[in-house]
């Protein structure tokens, strides 16, 4: 490296202007190629992440919807059963139907909080955090 290479860089270790131009040309060419590969990779990762979130979104939709309906059904069933046992038809069925509706709304709210947390953890995206309430 020491003596044999001295023959090549005869300018005392400095490159000639042509050599510098050639080198810079190669670097810029490589940069272009690298940029293309990187852009392709990023686009691919984004599309994959997007489809994963989309699939999850569908499953979250089913989850939240069925939890809402499920709570109403369970509430109505409890009310109907209590009516049957206590002979208070139809009042408890009505009351528990409404309680079931409230439980359904609670399920939806919890499901949405869960969804927010999951998406934030996976993608770092904020899909709508709670704003401070006027009453708070």
């Amino acid at each position: 490296m020491s003596n044999s290479s001295n023959g090549q860089d005869h300018n005392g270790g400095k490159l000639s202007p042509q050599e510098i131009a050639h080198f810079e040309h190669r670097v810029s060419e490589l940069n272009k190629k690298l940029g293309k590969v990187r852009a392709g990779k990023i686009a691919k990762a984004e599309s994959q992440g997007g489809s994963a979130v989309g699939g999850r979104g569908m499953s979250y939709g089913f989850k939240i919807g069925s939890e809402f309906v499920g709570a109403i059904l369970v509430g109505a069933a409890i009310g109907y059963g209590l009516d049957y046992l206590l002979g208070t038809k139809p009042w408890l069925a009505l009351a528990f139907f409404l309680l079931g509706f409230a439980a359904g709304v609670l399920n939806v709210m919890r499901g949405y909080q869960q969804l927010q947390g999951d998406i934030e953890r996976q993608t770092g995206a904020n899909i709508g955090k709670d704003l401070p309430d006027d009453d708070d």
């Binding site: 699939g55 999850r56 569908m58 499953s59 089913f62 989850k63 069925s66 939890e67 309906v69 499920g70 709570a71 059904l73 369970v74 509430g75 409890i78 528990f96 309680l99 079931g100 409230a102 439980a103 359904g104 609670l106 399920n107 869960q114 953890r121």
Partner: protein, 257 residues
Amino acid sequence: MPDPIHQFEIKRLVPLELFGLDATFTNSALFMVLAVVLIAGFLIFSMQGRSLVPTRLQSLSEMLYEFVANMVRDTMGHGHDEHGHGHGYMKFFPLVFTIFIFILTLNMLGMIPGFFTSTSHLAVTASLALLVFVTVLIVGFAKNGVGFLKLFVPSGVPIYVLPLVVAIEIISFLSRPVSHSVRLFANMLAGHITLKVFAGFIIMLLGAGGAYGVLSILPLTMATALTALEFLVAFLQAYVFAMLTCMYLNDALHPGH
């Protein structure tokens, strides 16, 4: 038109009676046994070599393991170290893994034409959901004792609305196995009926002959797209069922939210 419900018919294969109960071996049971045999066979066979550099099959089962393990960690392991030492939520990994792979295999078996879909019956999905529900109750009371009831009493609620809130919370808790089982069952049932109906349209249009035959390309396109969607649903529903199992078990371990 072919009957779209016909595919869900339970057929009695081997009549059997145990302790006065009707325990007939049906086609539904046959496919569940088939699923168990397939899963066990695949996992045992693929892990036979147990080499450091895995074969294709071995890395497939390792990926399955990692996938479920990550799901358990993500849902149950907030703020705990990676392997769950000193916390023990990984104790529930076998349950979650079994549920996930069992439902996934049943769903995927159902996608093969002519095969029976056990998960399209509420009896099967409800049994699985009740299994999870009872496990949550047992684990919850065993780990926390009476403290498990804190699940129904949110903190910071004024005393005069507390009875109402507790009633709502209990209904919400009891609605879990319902939505848990109905979601899987309804998705599989609806998907298979839709597929059958669109496939039936193809036959009907072709049977009508002439210009109608050309139109049969429309339901064919739809049936093809729906098949792809059904494969996605088959996987997603197994995933959601297992993920909710983790979430419910997490509630049993930490009832205080």
